[in-house]
Amino acid sequence: MSKVKFDTIESTCVPLPFENVDTDQIIPARFLSATSRQGFGDNLFRDWRYTKTGEKNGEFVLNNPGYKGKVLVAGKNFGSGSSREHAVWAIFDYGFRAVVSSFFADIFMNNALNNGLLPIVISDELLKKLLNQVQNNPDTKVKIDLEKQIFSILPSGDSVKFGINPYKKECLLKGLDDIDFLLTMSSAITSYENNKSLV
């Protein structure tokens, strides 16, 4: 679990203008045999990043030197499919700290928040606008202020408030961990167990 504090980000973006990017694309199952959390970034988007013969696919955005940054911008329903947290570890390990989309799959969203990767939901319209701007100008910067919950596209001046569960926001800002929190509750958990009925 993450104990890294989330600071305000000002960064260029990497655009991935496809819908329904599933966790099998983010990290294919054949790379899930590791038993630690490190190193998954090397295989992030593996089958899009490399050709069938193992060379870098020059058409894929991660291989385009023009696009860099801590923010991944993706089409709607990002992170659907498998519950593999390896998908989040791969995105984080690669260097991203936030993913922006108009819609995230539930488990991916939880996994991201548990690992210091901030999922930001913006409207379909703003997403389209952002993708256009980034694709036209790779130097387009965005700013993410988690404290104020403000997401801004710097050149165009678009600025929106994004939602996040207040508990999770606190965890991200302070680098707190759910398990430390749950461990403080062990007596409440034991007393729940003692009073539990069958149904």
């Binding site: 045999s33 999770k168 759910d178």
Partner: protein, 474 residues
């Protein structure tokens, strides 16, 4: 008193504490683990120097990363072997019951949980696997979690979880011959899309659901995640109780009659409210097949691929990209399209009724020469039952080889990969790009449709093979 849905009743009775403006601390009755999503969680416990809080409530199996041939030999791939060994070490160290490779009770986690009597009505169940929703068929709140959450459950038997919204899906009407539970759920997903239930927990209701067997219900709940739902559940009834009474053992229940009386209380109040309410007519459903790269891209097998993903609107780049990957064109018919592989198995369709259904079609026929078939039972128990019913011999005489249990080609972590560019009709749950191996092209379907394709070597309407009245309660 306020009316409550079944989901509310189970959820609310498992809340240890609600955090103001935050998630609930939810108590977990049953935790299933497997080799792929647990090692990092155990590492976390080790780093913190803490034990597993309630080791008796966690059950482990090796399923995702194991070969389906020569399971008695050491696993050839070193990383896979290491991962499976790590699971054994962790289970031994922390006192967790493991049904490992070569254990007579080994199998896919969502197949063995129910068949070994660990999944019971009213429970909260989690596992580091999105198809944990399968267990909802017993009237449980069951959902997939990430590894950080696996660590939470190991450490405290609880997770922090925001309460999802509630959706009801009602299905009434007579099912046509050749239409199985797989077709039902594929139809629903094709109607509401691969993200149509994101943020919701689904309760399946209606006469067509009630008439399904437990295995059929598991197939339905299993694929809830494929429309984005956290999970799906079905209120327990006589079908559920009969299934449970027939099991050799039910864990943690000393008096089954008392338990059944309690479980009968597990139903939604008649006037309870849902955040979304959908109704479907079962008589409209035909055998289904997918044509794209997410489970929402499905259609009746005799239909044509739509011209675009949104009615009246130009096809999106994602839609075109998806069809390009599959080698299909908008408007194309799939019937008669040659295929290369057939896969029957997985936590969706790897149970005995699925292999019986497949057998109904292949009995007295031969596998097409162009087809490579991967026939993979969901568990050792399923395999045993196949032997007892003479299915393995029947499969052999039709030219099919039956493999040993595991997740196999569903996610292709092991050697059971579909090669680049090849078409596979699969009874599994995901048709994502590369899901069954790099460049593989998956067409999801029922065991009946997979069987018809295995016999003809091309996409075939299974109803052609069902001349007699076959009652497959799926």
């Amino acid at each position: 008193m306020n009316s409550k849905t079944l989901f509310d009743k189970i959820w609310d009775s498992h809340v240890v504490k609600s955090i103001a403006d935050g998630p609930d601390v939810l108590y977990i009755d049953r935790h299933y683990i497997h080799e792929v999503t647990s090692p990092q969680a155990f590492n976390g416990l080790k780093e913190r120097g803490i034990p597993v809080f309630r080791p008796g409530k966690t059950i482990a199996t090796a399923d995702h990363n194991i070969p389906t041939k020569d399971q008695h030999l050491p696993i050839r791939d070193q990383l896979s072997r290491n991962q499976v060994e790590r699971l054994s070490e962790n289970c031994q160290k922390y006192g967790i019951e493991l049904f490992g490779l070569n254990d007579p009770k080994n199998g896919i986690v969502h197949v063995i949980g129910p068949e070994l009597g660990y999944t019971l009505p009213g429970m909260t169940i989690v596992c580091g696997d999105s198809h944990t929703s399968t267990h909802g068929a017993f009237g449980t709140i069951a959902f997939g979690i990430g590894t950080s959450e696996v660590e939470m459950v190991l450490a405290t038997q609880c997770i922090l979880q925001p309460k999802p919204r509630k959706m009801r899906i009602t299905l009434d009407g007579e099912l046509h011959k050749g239409v199985t539970s797989k077709d039902i759920i594929m139809y629903i997903i094709s109607e509401i899309s691969a993200s149509g239930a994101t943020g919701y927990f689904v309760e399946y209701c209606g006469s067509s659901i009630r008439n399904l067997s437990m295995e059929g219900r598991m197939t339905i709940c299993n694929m809830s995640i494929e429309m984005g739902a956290r999970g799906g559940l079905i209120a327990p009834d006589e079908t559920t109780f009969e299934y449970l009474r027939k099991l050799p053992s039910i864990h943690g229940i000393s008096d089954i009659n008392y338990a059944v009386e309690e479980w009968k209380k597990l139903r939604s109040d008649s006037d309870s409210l849902y955040d979304k309410d959908l109704k479907f007519d079962a008589s409209l459903i035909k055998p289904m097949i997918t044509y794209g790269t997410n489970p929402g891209m499905g259609m009746a097998i005799d239909d044509s691929i739509p011209l675009s993903d949104e009615k009246g609107i130009k096809a999106s780049s994602s839609f075109i990209k998806s069809l390009d990957y599959m080698g299909f064109k908008p408007g194309m018919k799939l019937l008669g399209h040659p295929i290369d592989y057939v896969f029957i198995g997985s936590c969706t369709n790897g149970r005995i009724e699925d292999f019986r259904a497949f057998a109904e079609v292949i009995r007295g026929r031969k596998k097409a020469d162009n087809i490579t078939a991967l026939i993979v039972p969901g568990s050792k128990k399923v395999e045993e039952q196949m032997v007892a019913e003479g299915l393995i011999d029947l499969y052999k005489s039709a030219g099919f080889e039956v493999r040993q249990p595991g997740c196999s080609s569903c996610l292709a972590m092991n050697e059971d990969k579909i090669p680049l560019g090849k078409y596979a009709v699969s009874t599994s749950n995901r048709n994502f790009e590369g899901r069954q191996g790099p460049g593989s092209r998956t067409l999801l379907a029922s065991p009946l449709t997979a069987a018809a394709a295995a016999i003809t070597g091309k996409i075939t309407d299974p109803r052609e093979f069902l001349t007699e009245e076959i009652n497959i309660n799926k």
